[in-house]
Assembly symmetry: C2
Homo-oligomer: 333 residues x 2
């Protein structure tokens, strides 16, 4: 990869674009499977792999409100208290490692005025604000608040396959006015085909034109298209892309880091440490949790449904009854 001209006679897929940055969200998105109950050892292993692999950002979890979510039900990476970050990443050095730490703050689920401290007091470098279209006003406040505290900020509008173009445009116009450095295309339901990615990219980049903001891509793998849609966004010009180790993530999972780094040609990215992490830490997780493009996720992706339907069904004894699930979602939802 990766040029902007698709049919160039030269081979854009064997050169690289220096401005393209990779974000690992293994712990943040993967934690949606297990209520963020990862061991320190695992989180630290992912961190060390990110450093060794040359990854640009690592998202270590959410800053969820402890008033809304019980600390006995959820692990530390749901809350990302500064004390927890200071302990596990005590030796973290942004400059030496080239890695920046980030968390996600959900509109409506984060006590952001209290939970987010000034950047110079935190291990974090960026706050990613996730929100649904109707929450855009709070998202703007959150972005500006975090920007004021010194952080890089990023706007993640979720569930875009369920809202109209005019709603998307309204959100984009609001985000364009903020200090957010990045606007991310988020395919929450794993529902997008290539032509839809193209159309959304044009919409997002058009709305951000002249602001200097980058476009990001966060894909889900319901239809085995997370990697392909990420490639597509990159070809179009996206310079911020999300991936997870082994594709770990809720439901069908995410764009696999091992595929993404294999595609990128920036010599700073290294695959070998990722394979080490996969065999030592990620594969073993499969004995307790599951993720991947199973048939039920194919179906919810095709039908543009929240993966929760598939997650619930796969937790039952009938999990291998594909026809039953197909009939159920076809008539019930």
């Amino acid at each position: 990869m990766l040029g902007l001209k698709v049919m160039a006679d030269s081979a854009p897929w064997i050169t690289y674009r220096p401005g393209l940055k990779v974000l690992d969200c293994t712990i943040r998105d993967g934690g949606l499977i297990n209520n963020h109950q990862f061991s320190d050892k695992l989180v630290r292993a992912v961190y060390e792999t990110c450093v060794a692999a040359g990854i640009d950002y690592m998202e270590v979890g959410y800053k969820a409100s402890p008033k809304q979510f019980s600390r006995s039900d959820f692990g530390p990476w749901k809350f990302c208290d500064e004390g927890v970050l200071n302990k596990l990443f005590s030796d973290h050095d942004e400059e030496k490692t080239g890695l920046k730490l980030t968390i996600m703050a959900d509109a409506g689920k984060c006590d952001w005025r209290e939970q987010i401290v000034p950047r110079q007091e935190s291990k974090l470098a960026m706050i990613r604000v996730a929100f649904y279209a109707h929450q855009v006003s709070e998202a703007v406040q959150m972005i500006e608040h975090c920007h004021g505290l010194g952080y890089e900020t990023c706007a993640n509008l979720m569930a875009i396959s369920t809202i109209t173009d005019v709603e998307i445009d309204t959100v984009l116009a609001e985000i364009a006015k903020t200090h957010a450095e990045v606007m991310v295309i988020v395919d929450s339901f794993g529902n997008l085909y290539r032509e839809q990615v193209d159309r959304l990219y044009a919409r997002y980049s058009g709305a951000m034109a002249g602001t200097g903001k980058e476009i990001g891509m966060h894909a889900h793998n319901n239809m085995q298209l997370a990697f392909a849609n990420t490639i597509e966004a990159i070809i179009l010009g996206a310079n911020r892309v999300d991936a997870t180790m082994g594709g770990l993530g809720r439901g069908a999972g995410n764009c696999p880091m091992e595929l993404l780094l294999g595609f990128l040609r920036n010599p700073k990215f290294k695959l070998r440490p990722v394979f080490g992490l996969l065999q030592d830490h990620i594969e073993p997780l499969k004995s307790t949790v599951e993720w991947g493009p199973f048939v039920q996720y194919n179906i919810t992706g095709q039908m543009n449904l929240h993966p929760r339907h598939a997650i619930q069904f796969r937790a039952t004894k009938e999990k291998d009854d594909y026809v039953k699930f197909y009939d159920q979602v076809g008539s019930d939802v």
Copy 2:
């Protein structure tokens, strides 16, 4: 899907192209895992699913030379004797079912003058001729021979990621002169990214311009791109696409039929029977054979290597040692 204009304001992914035909090669490609030792029951179940799902072609196996391949080592779908076909598909009615049966004949591995009988004496409607670039002269003879016997014919140039553009062009020029109805882009090593599919499609369709031939796509899933690359070829204009039930196929497997049919919008295609086949017949195969985009196939795909290296490694006790495999193929091959 699927229009030809990517950025059309209308939504091409919710309409359909009537000329697009789907070929199921579950038994033919899947048989490479188990020496084509499928039971009659399984083959018949795939056949009935193809009929119920509205699939256009079913490829039931190879016509491999019994002089080169032992009948005790390989099952009946390696040879596809007319007697075997007549027995299992005794009731087959092309017109009533809308399904045509096909086999693959490999240049250099098929006694085609003896093994292929006139079409009116056979259940088969099409012969797909598979060949490497250096075998193109025999492939042309085979195509013309089969055409003379009354069959539709199809040219499948394999391993294109290992040959030069001038070699591809030479082959295409020879095939353009034949009676083959279809020229298939075959990504044997699962090595192609989107931009490469675009470039090959332009090359193939340019060479076939004015001949009335269709372009086909046969993708492998080493990098989780089989479905995406098939979509890409379709957007560009490919009207013949290959898929397998559950993605069953050698190594990483193929484009999954359940994803492809979910993408196509031709109302004649039905997904429900495919899900039934998957749960009753394909999933149970996983207790004896494996296929899918495992890490070793990611690596051979990225490195443009034949999947045999990965297949051999995954048959050893060290199959979960990804780093060892990565180091091995990086230095040995």
